[in-house]
């Protein structure tokens, strides 16, 4: 059955994300909060994370290009990204944000730029996997027509 194969793919993808340290327990908490009254809860939170992350990373790049970097402002954006990462269970991105904040405290533009590159790579890797996960979920749902 197509649904079984798709479900198997989905489980393998999510298990791999946990095994690679991309996700932590918080993602399991989100899965447990999803029920028949909130069937799209995980998708909603993941989508918010992806949208927030994209916006924040663009803003961080813009802030760090300025000749006089406002490190408090940069720190504030990184704090936001750290918060939304923690909420969705994005462990790797969250941990990189913690490092990023240390460079903000040190007022190190080089440190911030290097960490921005790292967080960007990690974020887009995770976003791609989340998008694949959501697509598989939609395909699985399509196998069960609503009555």
């Amino acid at each position: 059955m197509a649904a079984a194969a798709l479900t198997s793919q989905l489980n393998a993808l999510v298990n791999n994300m946990f095994a690679m340290g991309l996700l932590d327990d918080q993602f399991q908490q989100l899965q447990m909060l999803q029920d028949s009254t909130a069937p799209d809860f995980v998708s909603e939170v993941v989508t918010l994370f992806c949208d927030d992350g994209e916006r924040i990373i663009c803003e961080l790049a813009r802030q760090l290009e300025k000749p006089n970097v406002d490190f408090d402002r940069v720190d504030s954006y990184v704090h936001q990204l750290k918060g939304s990462s923690a909420s969705v269970g994005a462990q790797k991105v969250k941990n990189t944000c913690i490092q990023f904040r240390e460079f903000c405290q040190q007022r190190s533009r080089d440190g911030c730029l290097k960490t921005l590159d790292l967080v960007r790579t990690e974020f887009y890797d995770l976003r791609n996997k989340f998008q694949a996960m959501l697509q598989l979920e939609q395909q699985i749902q399509a196998c069960y027509p609503k009555h």
Binding site: Q26, Q29, L30, M32, L33, A38, F41, E44, V45, L48, F49, D52, S76, H79, Q80, K82, G83, S84, A86, S87, V88
Partner: protein, 127 residues
């Protein structure tokens, strides 16, 4: 006897955190009425203008316009005794102390979960 409706004010600037908190509150049995405020200033207005007192306020620390410490101080300054639980990802002792000094009753770390909220609701006899 019908259980009393639990009214919660969720003060948090990030939408993703509000969505997760709302779901966790509902799962923990405390989500009867959940009002939201995106910063401390709106929170103070909501408390002042509420038709009925809130049973619990969940207060984020870092927010634009007015932060959680100041909002807590102002709410206490109005004579409001509703339990206020500070919520922050920065769980440093200095942060916790600052919130308690401002008038918060407790502190919990982000992200919120059904378990953490269950403990809070039980502590304040809202479960």
């Amino acid at each position: 006897m019908a259980r009393k409706m639990i009214r919660v004010l969720l003060v948090e600037d990030e939408e993703i955190n509000r969505v997760v908190a709302r779901a966790a509150l509902k799962a923990a049995g405390g989500g009867d009425v959940v009002d939201e405020a995106e910063n401390g200033e709106v929170a103070v207005q909501r408390v002042r203008d509420a038709a009925a007192p809130y049973d619990l306020v969940l207060m984020d620390k870092q927010m634009p316009v007015m932060d959680g410490h100041e909002a807590t101080r102002r709410i206490r300054g109005m004579g409001v005794t509703t339990p206020i639980v500070a919520v922050s990802s920065d769980g440093l002792p200095a942060d916790v102390d600052a919130f308690i000094t401002a008038g918060a009753d407790d502190f919990t770390s982000k992200p919120l979960s059904k378990e953490k909220l269950g403990v809070i609701l039980a502590k304040f006899r809202l479960a």
